[in-house]
């Protein structure tokens, strides 16, 4: 290849890299040359998964998808469609119709694409996808089609799906959302109509309306307030009653008191014929609070759904051993098919599929989700292990003692329920303040009433009600939950799942951010860093041949070579020799791929050229001589340096804490601009390091991915796990970065910072407003309409301020 051509090729590669993957929009790794032809144009792809998905979409006649979509697709995983676990769903008892949860829906065009692709599958009669719940309903002909082929089709075009299970999928949250939607609608209708009746009274001025007309308007308002009070406001009264019985008053108590007092006062005024009515304020109050709740519940449902999909991408499965446990001859079956006395293999990081007794092996199990106990427990042969316990150390063989596969299910349900539940310290603080606020307010109202009895007994009642209404704790109770819900929702869209409520608050406070190296800052798998052609063939051609030879090899080095090649030739008579390499025939020529010694056996002579330090070389050669050397090494994530830079710019101290050698840790740290790198740490030493930092007063955020990081993830003040990492790590983390991408971490910090400042602004506004409005009301300066508008404007301001968080800057 001439120098000019090579230069042009390099420029084209740089341009592709800047552009990002056409399918999923992620940056294209250096040296990758995947592409797909879409509507006549060749488009760059970041990985073979995306390329295959794009090709399948185009081949299916759905290229329109790319023209109409409004967001990039999720990154597709090439191996996903091949997962053998998918066959297990065929035995799940779905006959002819079923619902599936679909992951990776980014925009409305996905709906069209999925429905169309499915209708092309032979035997599928009907397919409809609900965009709001991301649930797919399919009807199929049992003779021609099986559930697993539906799932495979979806995976080929880049969406993972699995059978929908109501128990697992937060059905309750969904029902709650529907009910809340109705309550919100009723409150909104009632609010608008009551406002219509209130307006004339406000506008008419004193004496312009006769008493009969005023009474008519007020009675009509009363009738229309009743649905809002009796139906829509239920959640507040029920919540307040529960809080009082438990003796732990939260935000519902002041809210219920506010609604009750304003309604009771207005009713008394209406019946007695003196004083003003505040039915418009009551309905507005109910509507605004319900609106905030609805947002909150929506964010929680989405978070729960995302987490559940993350954990349940594949059906619950078990490795059942055939015959001798020592032979480790395992078959993959559905966990529900296990029977008592079956022997199952539980690998490190997997959860026990059912209750059982250890037959062989010695390990540590993690019962954190079952019992809440955070330390792992040592179990040896003869000990019982409950289903759902996570094997934290090494592979064991279990004899199943009960087929209670619900225990695993129970674990998942608990995990899902935990998502988005509970309240961060800031919200608890606001709750407590609100309670004192209401008590103080009630006292103040009584004082104002008594004082006005002395001054002007006719206005005493009116003033008392106006104090209650103008100060209703609306703004205060909307301030935090709305902001948190908006932030959670936004982060989920950006690929960060917030599991624990305190995550954002603590992350913002964090002084140190500690990264694991392998799998977190790096990809955790080898990539072809460099192809050195030493023979007549070009590097790209050598890669194609190598990819053909490695076509069916599950080894990580083999898949790295496959990923780097832009398509493969077809290889015949491939034989592999353990520890050395493979040989086979491509286009009528014999090739060997593997270690230098292995290739030297056919190419003759010795390998030339020095191998760069820290890389694993793989050689390609034929009988005609040496052809190429591929240097493979674990690659730094493309976005890692940028993320570290952004975290440092935000004033955080970034630390690299690795189990790898000090030298390797230091090398990575130097490339990323991390000043502190500590290598050679065992899991408990990592935890000790974090504990020491904490003792020195640091607030530590930890980012990790592996099984060995679980303890330190739990030990840190706030932690994030990688979505592609071990489940165990995710169980212990406060947040999960859902994609195979570090960049959302910096977004999360940014969002955390903005969320907290929005919450502070909201609380400050609520305080300032009340300090100004309450004395004014107590002094008798406010008319009812002023009180009502003041309350509404203040609440709306707080909600709108919180909703700013949903927008991208």
């Amino acid at each position: 290849m001439s120098a000019v051509v090579e230069q042009a090729a390099r420029a084209a590669a740089a341009a592709r890299q800047a552009q990002g993957c056409f399918h999923c929009g992620l940056p294209i790794p250096a040296g990758s040359c995947w592409q797909a032809t879409i509507e006549g144009g060749v488009q760059p792809m970041c990985c073979p998964g995306c390329a295959a998905a794009a090709q399948a979409i185009v081949d299916g006649g759905c290229a329109d998808y790319y023209a109409t979509r409004t967001a990039y697709a999720a990154q597709a995983d090439l191996d996903a469609a091949r997962a053998p676990e998918l066959d297990l769903v065929d035995g799940a008892g779905m006959d002819g119709e079923g619902s599936f949860s679909v992951e990776g829906i980014r925009c409305a065009a996905c709906v069209w694409l999925i429905e169309r692709q499915l209708l092309r599958v032979p035997g599928v009669l009907d397919a409809s996808l609900n965009l709001a719940t991301e649930r797919l309903y399919v009807r199929w002909d049992q003779g021609e089609c099986r559930p697993s082929s539906i799932l495979r089709t979806l995976r080929t075009i880049g969406y993972s799906a699995y059978p929908y299970d109501a128990r697992r999928h937060g059905e309750q949250l969904e029902r709650a959302r529907k009910k809340l939607f109705r309550q919100l609608f009723v409150a909104g209708l009632s609010m608008m109509q009551v406002m219509m009746y209130a307006m004339p009274v406000y506008l008419a001025g004193d004496g312009a309306m006769d008493a009969g007309m005023t009474a008519l308007m007020q009675w009509a308002s009363l009738f229309l307030t009743l649905p809002a009070l009796l139906y829509s406001a239920q959640p507040f009264f029920v919540g307040a009653w529960r809080d009082i019985r438990r003796g732990a008053p939260g935000m519902d108590v002041p809210v219920a008191l506010g609604i009750g007092a304003a309604f009771g006062g207005s009713l008394a005024a209406l019946l007695s014929g003196e004083g003003d009515v505040y039915f418009d304020s009551v309905t507005m109050f109910v509507f605004l609070l319900l609106g905030s709740r609805y947002l909150e519940l929506g964010a929680r449902r989405k978070a729960a759904g995302a987490l559940e999909r993350l954990q349940q991408g594949l059906p619950a499965s078990a490795l059942r051993l055939r015959g001798d446990p020592l032979a480790r001859d395992a078959e993959l079956i559905a966990a529900s098919m296990l029977e008592v006395d079956d022997l199952v293999l539980v690998k490190a990081g997997q959860a026990a599929p059912a209750d059982g007794v250890i037959v062989e092996g010695e390990t540590e199990v993690d019962l954190a989700l079952l019992t809440g106990e955070s330390r792992t427990q040592r179990r040896t042969a003869g000990d019982a292990v409950p289903g759902g316990a996570v094997n934290a150390a090494q592979a064991i063989v279990l004899r199943v003692t009960s087929t209670a596969n619900d225990s695993t299910l129970a674990m998942l349900v608990r995990l899902v329920e935990r998502a988005g539940q509970g309240k961060p310290a800031l919200a608890l603080w606001a709750d407590r303040v609100a309670l004192w606020f209401v008590l103080a307010l009630l006292g103040l109202t009584v004082i104002a009433y008594l004082a006005w009895l002395q001054v002007d007994p006719g206005r005493a009642w009116e003033v008392a009600i106006s104090v209650l209404v103008v100060s209703c704790p609306c703004a205060l109770s909307l301030a935090t939950p709305t902001a948190l819900a908006a932030a959670t929702d936004r982060l989920l869209r950006r690929g960060v799942l917030v599991v624990q409520p305190h995550t954002l608050e603590t992350f913002d406070r964090a002084t140190h951010i500690v990264f694991d190296k392998t799998g977190t800052l790096t990809y955790g798998r080898p990539l072809v860093r460099q192809t050195v052609a030493v023979g007549q063939l070009s590097g790209a051609e050598c890669l194609r041949i190598a990819a053909a030879l490695e076509a069916d090899n599950p080894h990580p080095l083999a898949s790295a070579i496959r990923d780097a090649a832009d398509g493969a030739r077809h290889a015949k008579r491939v034989r592999s020799t353990v520890g050395l390499g493979v040989e086979g025939w491509v286009d009528g020529r014999g090739y060997r791929l593997g270690s230098a010694a292995w290739v030297a056996g056919v190419a003759g002579g010795v390998a030339r050229a020095a191998v760069p330090a820290g890389t694993t070389p793989v050689w390609l050669g034929s009988a005609d001589g040496w052809l190429a050397r591929f240097d493979l090494a674990d690659g730094l994530r493309l976005e890692a340096a940028d993320v570290v830079q952004r975290l440092r710019a935000a004033g955080k101290t970034v630390v690299l804490l690795s189990g790898d050698e000090q030298q390797a840790a230091q090398a990575v740290a130097a490339q990323l601009g991390i000043s502190t790198a500590i290598g050679g740490k065992l899991p408990d030493e990592k935890l000790a390091f974090v504990r020491r930092l904490q003792q020195e007063g640091a607030v530590v955020a930890m980012v990790g991915d592996g099984i060995n990081d679980a303890a330190v993830l739990r030990g840190a003040d706030v932690s994030f796990a990688m979505g592609r990492g071990a489940e165990l790590a995710q169980l212990h983390a406060d947040g999960v970065l859902m994609g195979d991408d570090l960049a959302p971490l910096a977004d999360a910090l940014d969002t955390a910072r903005r969320t907290l400042s929005v919450i502070r602004q909201n609380l400050a506004w609520a305080v300032v407003y009340n300090l100004a409005a309450i004395p004014a009301a107590a002094a008798g300066l406010l008319n009812p309409w002023m009180a009502g508008i003041g309350m509404a404007a203040s609440s709306a301001l707080v909600v709108l301020n919180a909703l700013r968080l949903r927008r991208d800057r």
Binding site: L131, R182, F185, S190, A220
Partner: protein, 47 residues
């Protein structure tokens, strides 16, 4: 102005009617997916 003595109660009845229609629609699942159908009509499936 006397007309209001009829019209205001009538409007209360109308709101009741609107609520009844809304609950009927909600029960039939019309509000289950508020985003999808709006986009679905834009997709041309006739090719």
């Amino acid at each position: 102005m006397e007309a209001l003595y009829i019209l205001v109660p009538l409007s209360v009845v109308l709101v009741g009617l609107a609520l009844w229609v809304f609950f009927g629609a909600a029960d039939s699942g019309q509000f289950d997916d508020l985003e999808g159908p709006a986009y679905r009509v834009l997709q041309d499936d006739d090719r």
